[in-house]
């Protein structure tokens, strides 16, 4: 694990390296930025370099501490992640108990709290005490995808570093460097909105399954009868809530791509570049106004689902709307 393993995030890395090398690391840092963007990797590298015993280059990857980190058995490197859907108060209590003892090496400790926004209110409040008055020398690295969900009292005790998505080209280049095919890298980079973690998940076998399903459904709605609605709604009903939300996201992407084609923007900005031909074929059926309305309808459905609306009814309503919009003259 090295600083050079990190793709992009130049400013953040420079700042962190500087703080680390000048021994001015604040005791609590909050990494805020969307899921899958690389916060965890950066946090791990920061942790490794804080614990590394090398004088010159940290993390060196050779010293005892670096090796223990790579085995995942470093005693002074604590890692807390959600147990189920939340970080529970028992986990924070365990942490406090651990921190009440002297550090194993006699030197500083690092604690990563991954998914910090998923702490229950009780857990967060219980963490406040240690965050404000940490026993011994310790650096807390809090990682949060939704900073807004954290208690303001937690945020105010941390130095906040925001992480932004990477540029598509940078991501695609790196994926190719990792050995993925150029075409698939391109699609993954575009669809992941600049998030390495998501891009890698898309490149897994079946990673694009949901996207393909969304595309297939839209194409079907356009060239068949109303039966397609009932069939597709049935499929959607059986999916997990997170999958449906993901599915709906792809529907938006596809409609957006068609919108680009309809307005004559050319292919270079398409997300779903690999299926550009199919999209071109159906683009004639649509007009700009109807596409915008359709995208709005998708957004309404997404909000309804987030608010726990009935999946079957919501998806039927959405599909009928798209079906109608595709046929309006």
């Amino acid at each position: 694990m090295k600083w050079t393993d990190i793709i992009g995030h130049k400013d953040q890395v420079t700042m962190l390296r500087h703080m680390e090398s000048s021994r001015r690391m604040p005791h609590a840092v909050l990494f805020a930025g969307p899921k899958g963007i690389g916060k965890n990797l950066v946090a791990n590298v920061v942790a490794a370099s804080l614990l590394c015993s090398d004088q010159e280059e940290r993390p060196c990857g050779r010293c005892h501490s670096c090796q223990q980190i790579s085995y995942g058995s470093h005693p002074d490197f604590l890692h807390i992640a959600p147990d189920g859907t939340n970080i529970k108060i028992e986990q924070i209590r365990m942490l406090q108990q651990e921190l009440s003892m002297a550090s194993f090496s006699g030197q500083r400790r690092v604690c990563i709290i991954d998914g910090a926004e998923l702490m229950t209110t009780q857990a967060a409040n219980s963490l406040l005490k240690v965050l404000e008055d940490p026993p011994g020398e310790i650096v807390f690295l809090l990682l949060a995808a939704n900073k807004q969900m954290l208690l303001t009292t937690i945020i105010s005790r941390c130095m906040v570093i925001a992480f932004q998505p990477l540029a598509d080209e940078l991501l695609a280049q790196d994926l190719m460097a990792k050995g993925y095919l150029p075409e698939t890298s391109e699609v993954a980079a575009r669809l992941s909105s600049g998030r390495m973690g998501i891009a890698l998940a898309l490149l897994e076998p079946e990673g694009l399954a949901l996207r393909n399903q969304a595309l297939e459904m839209i194409l079907k709605l356009m060239d068949s009868k109303l039966e397609a609605v009932w069939h597709s709604a049935g499929v959607l009903e059986k999916m997990e809530r997170n999958d449906i939300l993901e599915f709906i996201k792809y529907v938006t992407y596809i409609l957006r791509d068609i919108l680009l084609l309809v307005t004559g923007q050319g292919k270079q900005w398409l997300f779903n570049i690999d299926v550009a031909e199919e999209l071109c074929e159906v683009a004639d059926m649509w007009s700009e106004r109807r596409l915008v309305t359709a995208i709005r309808a998708v957004e309404t459905a997404r909000r309804a689902l987030l608010a726990n609306a009935n999946t079957r009814l919501t998806s039927e309503a959405l599909l009928i709307r798209i079906y109608d919009l595709a046929r309006e003259v």
Binding site: Q96, S100, A102, F104
Partner: protein
Amino acid sequence: MKISCTKEQLNHAVQTVQKALATKTPMPILTGIYLSAFEDKLELQATNYEIGISCIIEATIEEPGTVVISGRYFQELVRKLPGEIIEISSSAEDRTIQITSNQAQFNLLSLPAEEFPVLKKPTSDTVINVKDNILRELIKKTVFACSTDESRPIFTGGLLEINQHEVNMVATNTHRLAIKKDHLGHNTDSIKMIIPAKILNELARIMISDVPMDVTIYCQKNQVSFAFDNIYIISRLIEGQFPDYNKVIPPSFATTITIDTHAFMDAVERVSLLARDGDYNIIKLAFKNDCVIITSNNPDIGKACETVTTTVQGNEVEIAFNAKYVTDILKNISSEQLIFSLNTPLSPASIKPIDDETYNYIITPVRTN
């Protein structure tokens, strides 16, 4: 690695180190026992990063080496092996460990030995020698008074204080405090450290020699090691400042009672049967006319009352205590009689053996209206 050793020794070593095995841990390597064979010796180690135990036994080494073996299964199977001699050999290719004894043979998968955080033999500038019977006594007489409430970690450990030739152990949960003092035969450096109660209890359990032997204590900034016989135990320390316990001990008492330990303990235990249900487990003691009247009253169950004869010097007092805090100390007093010293119904009292000035127990009363 290829070795053979006696079952008795191996079993003893495994039972000693298994106390340090991690049970719930995200690091699987810590659930293993580390075996290292070198120069006619076999060293076993286990650690959960809070406590680490190492035990060295004699063995015939055919081929030196190190392996890590699943602690849970190794422990159980060593105890149940049939023969007197146990042979252990490891194969690097398929990462298994073969354990043979008589006709029984086990093949256990090994854990990656290079990942095990090997305990280093303790070294330190501050080294103190104490006899194990003294240390055991210090622990047993005080550590029961520690708190189990993790929210104030400093009270979950015992304070070991060594000053020149005096050694003190103090434990408290803020409602009661136990202190035991002893002498070392020689002058040493002064140290002060808070050791987790769990580890002290473990240490007392492992030190079971009949003849007093030396325990070497190595003190470092963040950890302490106890080495004796063929064993060493490493523990992390609790960080923080232990409160000044001398302030808690009242300098003088208005009432002093001498009482028979056994009679008192039996009476308190009987009376507390009815008190146990409540939150505070309250018993009341009334000292007057050379006797003590012990009462408890539980509105839902009933009342109990018992009188024990004593000698009371000074004022008459009525006072209430948490019965558990009283019985805890009575169990640890070995003398026939004890001295109970009090001031007022709301100020701390002291209980100590009649013939032992080095042991003291301070208990705070409960307010009752």
